[in-house]
C-alpha cells in the first residue's frame, strides 16, 4: 500500500522559513498531517503516521507543536443556528485612522467570531454571532460603532448558511 512518505525526509522542518507576518510556514509533512486532521480531528496518531510516513511519536510531537504555535486548532464546529444562536451577520466596516487597532478592538468582543482586514469598499469584515435581534442590534449599533476610528458600518444579516467547510488542501 501507500507506504512511501509524502515528502522527502531531508527537507527542512516547519518553522525554518518565516513569512513577513511572522507566521511559520509549514513543510509538506506537517501539511499532510493537517490534512489528515481536517478530515477527522480525532484520527489516531498512528494512522496519521502511516499516511504521512512518520512514526506515531513524531506525529504526536508535530501535532503538539502545531497546536502550541497556534497554527491549527482541533475543535468541534457546528452551525451556530443549531446551537441556539439565532442571529448572525456579516458586517462591513469603514475605518478612519489605524485599521489594525480597530480590528483588535473588534476581535476583543466575544460576539465577533471572525475578523479580517480587507481591500475593497470595506476596510474590515466582521462576522457576528448573537442570540437574538436585540443582542445583534446592541452589538452593531452600540458596541461596534462606539469603537474609535469606526466611520461607518453595513450589515448583512444571515438568512441561511449553505456551506461551511474546513478541508483546504483536501482537493
Amino acid at each position: 500500500m501507500h507506504s512511501e512518505a509524502v515528502a522527502s525526509r531531508s527537507a527542512d522542518q516547519k518553522g525554518s522559513r518565516e513569512s513577513r507576518s511572522g507566521t511559520p510556514q509549514l513543510d509538506a509533512v506537517s501539511l499532510a498531517i493537517v490534512e489528515q486532521l481536517q478530515e477527522d480531528g480525532r484520527r489516531p496518531y498512528a494512522a496519521i503516521g502511516k499516511a504521512v510516513g512518520l512514526s506515531e511519536a513524531a506525529v504526536r510531537q508535530r501535532v503538539q507543536k502545531l497546536l502550541d504555535q497556534g497554527v491549527m486548532q482541533i475543535v468541534a464546529v457546528t452551525d451556530p443556528l443549531t446551537v441556539g444562536f439565532r442571529r448572525q451577520a456579516m458586517v462591513g466596516v469603514n475605518v478612519e485612522g489605524d485599521v489594525e487597532s480597530v480590528a483588535d478592538a473588534l476581535a476583543a468582543m466575544s460576539e465577533c467570531e471572525y475578523v479580517v482586514m480587507t481591500a475593497g469598499s470595506f476596510d474590515l469584515m466582521v462576522e457576528i454571532v448573537c442570540e437574538d435581534d436585540d443582542h445583534l442590534l446592541d452589538v452593531i449599533n452600540r458596541r461596534i460603532r462606539a469603537v474609535p476610528g469606526v466611520r461607518s458600518t453595513e450589515s448583512f444579516v444571515y438568512l441561511k448558511l449553505k456551506k461551511q467547510t474546513y478541508m483546504w488542501g483536501t482537493r
Copy 2:
C-alpha cells in the same frame, strides 16, 4: 467538585424538537458536550462525562450521534494563509431569480469555503480560498459570474486574518 449535572436529566433528548429547516435542536447536555469539544476536539469521553454529568458510555453515544447527524464535526482548523493558500476573498453576490439555486451552484465549487444567504445589499456572501492571484481571478470572473442568475459581484480581498474562533456558547 462540580459533580452536579449541567441539565435536568428528565429533559427531552436532542432531536425531539425540530426547527423548520429540519435541523434537530440540541438539549442542554448535548450542548455542553459540544462546548467541551469546542475547547478541545480530542478531549477524552470520560473527561467530558465528568464535566457534563454523564457516563463515559453515554457521552460516547451522544458524540457519535451528533457526528452521524452532521450536527457537528470535529476537525482541525487553520489560517489558510499558513497552509499555502495565499489569496482569499469575501465576495458579495447579487442575484436575479432563485437565490437558493445560485447558492447551491456556488457551494458546489471547492474554492468556495463558505456560502451564506443574507439580507442587505448582497443576496449572498461567499468566502473564496485560492492559491494565488490567477486562481482567484479565474474563480471570481470566470466561474462565479458564469453561474446563471448572478447579476453582479463585489470582492473584498483578504489582507490579514485577525480572528477566527469556534467557541460559541463558551461565554
